[in-house]
C-alpha cells in the first residue's frame, strides 16, 4: 500500500490563488476556502496535515487563522504564503502562528510542493508537544540542569537580561560566536537568546547552524535591527522560537524565555517531536567564512551529554 494522500488546507481571499494551489497539489487531498472561520473548523474535521494560509485577508489576518488552527488542531504544520513582507506579519507568524515556513508570493512550484510534502510527513510522524506551563517539580529540575545562553555584545542589554533572568535561570553571556561555542561546549544549554548581529558581525548564521544540527535548542531572537527579510530567513532557516524587538521588556522577555525553556524541556522528554522544528540544511559554501571551518565542526560535534538528549535515549 502506498502512503495515504496528503491532506492540505488552503486559505486565501483570492479564489484564483486557491484554484492554482488546488491544481499544483493535484495529487493530494486539497480543501480550499476563502472563509477563515470555515478553515479553522475544517482543520480538525478533515484531520488536515498541512495548512497553507494567506496573510492579508479582509475578515481575519492569516496569523490569527494559524494561531486558532494551532490551538484547535496542533498536529497540522503551518505555512504562511504571502505577497507582503511586512515586519508585523513576520513577527506574528513566529510568536503567534509558530509557522513552519514563511513563503513569499510568487512562489516556486517545485519548492512549495516539496515543503508541503516534507511538512506532511513531519505532521504524521512527529508527535505534538503540549504548550502547557511547567509544573513546579519540572521547573526546579530545569532550573538546575538547563542553562540559558545570551549572545549579545551590548553591555547595557546584557545587564538588563541579567536583571530579568538571573533570579530564575542559570544565565551565561557571550559577546562573540567563539565565546558562545565555549559555553555550549561546557554547559547544557536549552535556550539561546541572541541579537541578529553584533559589532563584529552577523549572529544569524550561528543561530541557523545551531538549529540545523541541534533543533531541540529553542532560540529567542531579541533585536533592534528589525528587518522583515532577516526575520523571514530566521523562520525558514533558523526556526526561531520567538522574535522580540528591543527595548527588552521584562514581561514579554520572561514569558518568551519561560515558554522556550518549557519547549526545550518537552523536547528533551520527547525527542521524536523535534522533527517539527527542523530546517533545511545549508550548503557549507553558503556559510560565512568565519563559521565554515572549525566553528561549524565544533557545532556538529557538541557533546551529546550536554544536549540534554543523552538521558532520553
Amino acid at each position: 500500500m502506498s502512503e495515504p494522500r496528503i491532506k492540505v488546507l488552503c486559505i486565501d481571499d483570492e479564489s484564483r490563488i486557491l484554484r492554482a494551489l488546488k491544481a499544483l497539489f493535484r495529487d493530494m487531498d486539497v480543501h480550499v476556502t476563502t472563509d477563515p472561520k470555515e478553515a479553522i473548523r475544517w482543520a480538525g474535521e478533515f484531520d488536515i496535515d498541512v495548512v497553507v494560509c494567506d496573510q492579508r485577508m479582509p475578515k481575519m489576518q492569516g496569523i490569527e487563522v494559524l494561531r486558532e488552527i494551532r490551538i484547535a488542531h496542533p498536529r497540522a504544520m503551518r505555512i504562511l504564503l504571502t505577497g507582503y513582507a511586512d515586519l508585523g506579519a513576520v513577527l506574528g507568524s513566529v510568536n503567534e502562528g509558530e509557522v513552519f515556513r514563511y513563503i513569499n508570493k510568487p512562489w516556486d512550484n517545485a519548492e512549495l510542493r516539496e515543503t508541503v510534502q516534507l511538512a506532511a510527513k513531519i505532521a504524521r510522524d512527529a508527535p505534538v508537544v503540549q504548550d502547557k506551563a511547567m509544573d513546579d517539580v519540572s521547573r526546579e529540575m530545569a532550573r538546575r540542569e538547563v542553562g540559558i545562553l545570551v549572545i549579545e555584545d551590548d553591555p547595557e542589554v546584557q545587564q538588563r537580561m541579567r536583571e530579568i533572568l538571573q533570579p530564575h535561570y542559570q544565565v551565561r553571556f557571550a559577546s562573540s560566536p567563539e565565546r558562545a561555542l565555549q559555553v555550549l561546549e561546557k554547559h547544557e544549554t536549552g535556550v539561546v537568546i541572541s541579537e541578529t548581529a553584533g559589532q563584529h558581525g552577523d549572529f544569524t548564521a550561528l543561530i541557523k547552524a545551531l538549529k540545523q544540527y541541534h533543533p531541540h535548542i529553542a532560540t529567542v531572537v531579541v533585536t533592534d535591527r528589525a528587518n522583515a527579510n532577516v526575520a523571514i530567513d530566521l523562520i525558514n532557516e533558523g526556526q526561531v522560537f520567538r522574535l522580540l524587538l528591543k527595548p527588552v521588556r521584562m514581561g514579554s522577555c520572561r514569558l518568551s524565555v519561560d515558554a522556550a525553556v518549557g519547549r526545550y524541556w518537552q523536547l528533551k522528554q520527547n525527542p521524536s517531536a523535534t522533527r517539527r522544528y527542523i530546517v533545511a540544511p545549508r550548503a557549507e559554501s553558503q556559510l560565512p567564512s568565519w563559521l565554515a571551518g572549525s566553528l561549524m565542526q565544533r557545532i556538529k560535534l557538541l557533546p551529546s551529554r550536554l544536549l540534554g538528549l543523552a538521558r532520553a535515549h
Binding site: D13, E14, R16, I17, R19, A20, L21, A23, L24, R26, R56, M57, P58, Q61, G83, Y84, N104, K105, P106, W107, N109
Partner: protein, 323 residues
C-alpha cells in the same frame, strides 16, 4: 452635538492658477523676502522639498504596486507551469492511444474472432481520452491566468499614468480618473481593513500637472488611511460647485485635536513618531493645490473623523470647447 472646527487655508483669487510652482513662489514671496539671494535659496529648497517628497511617494507607490502584483504573478506563474505539466501528461495518454491504434491497424479484420478484442481495445482508448480531465482543468487555469495578466497590465498602466514620468507638464485632467488612479496605488494600504465609498460626480476637466495632483490625492488618502487604524470608511466625493471643482477625502478616524489643527499645513510638522513621517505631506499638498490656483479646507470632529476638501477653479475657456 458635533462641534466642527473649520479651518480655511490658502485661498487665492479665482483663476489665479499660476502654473508652475516656481513662478508662483517668486510672485508671492518677493513682497516678504528682502534679499534676492535669500529668495533664490528658498525657492531652491522648496523645489527640492517637492522633488524629495515626490520621490518618497514614488517609492511608496512602487512598493505598493509591487506587492499588489505578487498575487496575480503568483497564480499566473504557477498555472502556466502546471498547464505545461498537464499538457505533458495528456501527450503521454495520446501517445499511448496512438500506439494502440497502430496495433489495431495491423490486425487482420477479416478474422471475425478479432472483432471482440478490437471492440474492447477501442473502448479502452475511448475511456482513456474521455476520462482525461486535464485539458478542461488546464483551460480553467489558463482563463484565470489571462485575468491575472490583465490585472497586472492595469496595475502597470496605472503606475505609468500616475507617475507621468514621460510628460511632466500641464495637462487637461479628469479628476475622477486621478482619484481612481490614486486609489489603485494606495490599494495595499486600504485593502482588508478600510471600506472605500465613491460618490463621483460629472466634472469638467481642469488644467494641472497630473503627477502633482496624483501626489496630492495619494497623500490625502494615505493620511486618511493612517488616521483610521484597523478599520473605517474612506469617502471620496467629487462635484462641480459653481465655478469650482471640489474633491472631498473623508475618513472616520479620531479627528484632529484642536492644538494640532493650526499646524497641520506647516512644513516639518508631524504627529508620527520620529523616523516615520517627514512632516512634509500636508505642506506639500498645500503648496501644490496653491500652485494650481486652488484651495484646501479641513473639517474635523473628535472621534468622528476629518474631511479634507480641495477645490480648483474651472477654466471657462475650456467649457466652451466641444467635449
Amino acid at each position: 452635538m458635533m462641534v466642527e472646527a473649520i479651518l480655511l487655508v490658502a485661498c487665492l483669487g479665482v483663476g489665479a492658477y499660476a502654473g508652475l510652482l516656481k513662478k508662483q513662489l517668486a510672485s508671492s514671496q518677493s513682497r516678504v523676502v528682502q534679499g534676492a539671494a535669500e529668495l533664490e535659496k528658498m525657492q531652491q529648497s522648496q523645489a527640492q522639498v517637492i522633488h524629495t517628497t515626490k520621490l518618497a511617494s514614488l517609492g511608496q507607490m512602487i512598493a505598493g504596486v509591487a506587492h499588489e502584483m505578487n498575487t496575480p504573478i503568483g497564480f499566473v506563474k504557477s498555472n502556466v507551469e502546471v498547464v505545461r505539466e498537464l499538457l505533458g501528461e495528456h501527450r503521454e495518454i495520446v501517445a499511448k492511444c496512438l500506439k494502440g491504434f497502430e496495433t489495431m491497424l495491423a490486425v487482420d479484420l477479416t478474422n471475425p474472432q478479432m472483432h471482440e478484442p478490437m471492440r474492447r481495445a477501442l473502448a479502452k482508448v475511448r475511456a482513456a481520452l474521455a476520462g482525461d480531465e486535464r485539458l478542461r482543468d488546464g483551460d480553467e487555469l489558463l482563463k484565470d491566468s489571462v485575468d491575472g495578466l490583465v490585472q497586472i497590465a492595469n496595475l502597470v498602466k496605472n503606475l505609468k499614468g500616475f507617475a507621468r514620468v514621460d510628460r511632466d507638464g500641464m495637462d487637461l485632467l479628469d479628476l475622477n480618473e486621478c482619484i481612481e488612479s490614486a486609489l489603485t496605488i494606495a490599494g495595499h494600504q486600504l485593502r482588508d481593513r478600510i471600506e472605500v465609498v465613491r460618490e463621483l460626480g460629472q466634472l469638467p476637466k481642469i488644467h494641472g500637472v497630473a503627477s502633482q495632483i496624483n501626489q496630492v490625492l495619494l497623500n490625502l488618502i494615505t493620511n486618511a488611511a493612517q488616521a483610521m487604524g484597523d478599520s473605517g470608511t474612506l469617502t471620496l466625493v467629487s462635484r462641480r460647485s459653481g465655478d469650482q471643482v471640489e474633491i472631498d477625502v473623508g475618513d472616520t478616524g479620531g479627528g484632529i485635536p484642536d492644538e494640532v489643527l493650526p499646524k497641520i499645513f506647516d512644513p516639518f510638522f508631524t504627529t508620527k513618531p520620529v523616523g516615520e513621517g517627514t512632516g512634509l505631506g500636508l505642506s506639500i499638498v498645500h503648496k501644490i493645490v496653491q500652485s494650481h490656483g486652488g484651495t484646501i479646507k479641513v473639517r474635523t470632529a473628535p472621534k468622528k473623523g476629518s474631511t479634507f476638501t480641495i477645490s480648483f477653479p474651472v477654466d471657462h475657456a475650456l467649457l466652451k470647447q466641444p467635449a
